[in-house]
Amino acid sequence: MIHIDWILLIAGGWLLLAAVSLLVLRATRIVARWIFPAGAALGLGLLVVAIDAAFSPAEVAELLIGLPGLPMHLRVDALAAFFLIVIGAGACGTSLFCAGYFRTEEGTAPGLLSFEYHVFLAAMTLVVLADDAYTFMVMWETMAVSSYLLVTANHRLASVRNAGYLYLLIAHIGAIALLMCFGILQDNTGDYRFSNLRAVHLDPVWSSVAFGLAVFGFGAKAGLVPLHVWLPEAHPAAPSPVSALMSAVMLKTAIYGLLRVCLDILGGGPWWWGMVLLALGLASALLGVVFSTVQTEMKRLLAYSSIENIGLIVTGIGLALTFHAYGMTALAALALSAALVHVLAHAFFKSLLFLGTGAVLHATGERNLGKLGGLIRTMPWVAWLVLAGALAGAGLPPFVGFVSEWLLLQSFLLTTILPNSFLNMLIPLVAAAVALVVALAGYAMVKFFGVIFLGQPREEKLLQAHDAGSWERLGLLWFAAGVLLLGLFPTLLIELVDPVTRRLVGGGLAPAVQANGWLLLAPSGIDRASYGPIVFLCGVGAATLLGLLIARGLFRGTLRRAATWACGMGLLPVRDQARLQDSAEGFGQPIRQIFETFFHVSRELPAPSDVRPRYRVLIEDRIWLGAYLPIVRAVDAVARQVGHLQQGRISIYLLYSFLTLLVMLLLVRA
């Protein structure tokens, strides 16, 4: 019983920190220098405990609180442990960053922020630990509310308020769907423990309904299309560390729930379940990445990229479900491992990127890509660390982003002939789509890094930008190191996810991988496919070094620094020269043209006679215009009709009562 006690202790510790920070509401120094570092330490502890727990048998615990007759059941098994690792890692780095970040209070007192922040962490931990529907829902909603309060930290801005509202509303509707899902799963037994939900045998229709509700509910939290609309609003609104946590960790709790319900409680289902997830995942991935390439606001760009990555993860899960339905254990394990590895990968690089935007925001007060640039010179630390994240986000070797991509493509490729010819047609297409998505992600990342950190500063004030403080650097460093090291030792990742896949689909890659030693990742035999990041890195390094030596050896000329030739524009002031660079819109323009159908674009073009001509292009989400606004209008229309019930005349009210009585009497007589 040791692990779960430790984990509970850590969650309790976070709650304690929350309570303490309420006492020092406005003492920014204490909150920053003591409470957040302590939280980081707890996060590290959680990471360690969870790693150990992942390889040990499941443990259960009961709290004294809860419903009468239904105390809160907790359980840590391989699946929970894996996601605890994600939480621990994310919390550790982000808290370190926070220690340096919350210097000034953004609308809310720092103590209050830290309170909400640590409650958020504890809630996420307990969501993963929950072992009965009630506990799960309570923690799930606590998580939602605390994150909502964090998002609305700066509630004086109307945009922030609206973003928070949209977020909480969709989260709540998702939670309602989950409520119905659990209502079906418990099947009138009145026993909400997961163990009982597993034992209950539903007829196929009901279990499919439950599956649908689970996908809806968790999809709303994960940001699956078409429930993604809150994500690009909420992430930019929140303080950057919070965006980092939400995007890197909170979205993953939805993935956890999906796995828990679909694969653990329902134990898989017909093959088309997998197809549903596959379709949703691909749609989200494609839409997310396409939108992220055309964004002009750095945190929106990252938010959309989160949608994309969640989409990829869900695609992997869908594939795993399909294989599982046909009893192809090895392939299911491969696909699931890909998804899980990507969970971890995304947690690391997305935190890194969001924290990077936080540092930039603090240094420049600017979130609009059109006003940034050239920061690599003024804030080298942030720039170079974020570069690692960007490369990982682009799915490039030898970073961790590539490993999951590689595994995912492998699981598509090594598809032996499925018993369903339709699927056999489909799988290659899906693989193609995934490849396209990953390539586009590279485009988005180059845009993100290039426009922010490279080129010439587009505003004078950027020249005074200061580099991140030591705490912030520490946080960034944590994630950057993770991004690189996890990428270099994928075999360890496989070891980590192996227990989970065994638990869920009854098979794992560890044996096959161990057979080839820790240098080489060959999940299905070395002759089928292999990837050795370390050798790879050494190879590239050596070759680069070789190139350097050759150049040095053969070079006879001299090296000179000079101003760039800008087609004679050198006479212009620096600011206008900087204007010559590709703007964010410009960089996204080709994608906008190719994927015109995705967007609802409204342009504001200058007339020939304009004195101060300006060009603005507004890109909106067709789903928002086509699905959400009509719903709102419909509700309002119904409300208007209903309003006529209360039209003020007492005689009418008496008539209602009279008729009600008569109708009831008639019913009785009948």
């Binding site: 309570v138 209502g183 009145g190 209602y656």
Partner: protein, 489 residues
Amino acid sequence: MTADPVVLLALLIAVPIFGGMALAFLGHSRRGPGINVAFSGLTLLVAAALTTEVVQGGPVLGLGERFFIDPLNAFLVALTALVGFTTALFSRPYMRIERERGKMTGPRMRLFHSMYQLFIAMMLVALTTNNLGVLWVAMEAATLTTVLLVSVYRTPASLEAAWKYFILCGVGIAQALFGTLLLYLAADRVIGGGEGALLWTHLAAVKAQLEPNILALAFVFLLVGYGTKVGLVPLHNWLPDAHAEGPTPISAVLSGLLLNVALYAILRCKVLADGAMTNGLPGRSMIGFGILSVVVAAFFLRRQRDAKRMFAYSSIEHMGLMTFAFGLGGPVANFAGLLHMTVHSLTKSAIFFAVGHAAQRAGSQMMDDIRGLLAAGPTLGWGLLLGSLSILGVPPFGVFTSEFLILTSAMRQLPWAAPVLLLALGVAFAAVFARVQSMVFGDSNLPPVRHPPALLPVFVHLGLVLMLGLYVPPFLAGWYRQAAALIGG
């Protein structure tokens, strides 16, 4: 303490009646509010003593079987006394400010305080009486007292509200009387005439022998009658007006207590009807009313601009939900319904405290005139925010607990109903939270007031609701269970 529970029972009713009489003379004095608080506190003490007695000694039946405490009304008595006390606490500074603003005068203060005490008394009578006729009388009396309280400002709007309240509830109650009459008629054949034929305990003992046809008719009249006071759609029309136009303390007790008492009356009758009838008509009709109320109220919420009015509709919604739960029946749903009664009255009264104070500061109940409560007064802002989240069914507050139980058990028993309810809940969430957020967040526009508000009750209530969300005390859970069994698990 080992006081005789029967004596306590008598005291419980005597104290507020006496208080009402005393305040009829002292109500206008400067110490009037204090005395009001004192009497409410005394009532609370008696109720607490009684509760402990019942916890230890079990149900009580006394005063010639006319009054009794059983699991079904024990917690309601405690709840009523508690909310009565906290509301008195809140109304102390609130009414002072109203008086300084000239909305209240000396006579009106007197009226307000004495009627307040009598109102509490009548509700306690209605809760503790064993005689269904007396139950009816008490309900009617409670209506009369509150009518005067609603119209206390004498503004056109408040008069209109009070008039509608009186006429609609009067008519409704009249129907309930007819139902009671039929009940008596049915009992008459089994137990013979006399007062015994209206004692609930006696009726419950012989409920199986009661003539089903008469009971069916009686239940319809009782449901429509008391349902009017519960505020079930389409009998609800008086409710938003009365809540919005009366003084805030009254809105709080109306929503928090009176509706509960009316629902309690329906429950008592349902027990008998269920006993006599086999076709489950009571349950089905309650389910129907419940769903209708929830859905209609949810859409009404979308249209509100007056803060108190909005939360009045939310009360309709929640009463509908409880009615649905009790109609559903079964141990889980009944348990949940009773729990929901408790948490709803605590939360809703807390919300009315917060909203009332906010409106008082803003000098308007229109939500567009209220901004930035968090900035204006953190306790006020957080009180309203947390209260609204709680009433909207967000954990870890207790409202979520009951909704969780109700909806999950409905999901398989009435698969068609649960989605409808959940849709309505979603609409309600969207509607209410949009408004609350705009009130709570942003920069404040509220001037300060002379007397510091008594917002402690808000946090006491929310604290209790939070506790009930995470931990239900064993004895309370025990009551709920027995009561659930009583109602027909």
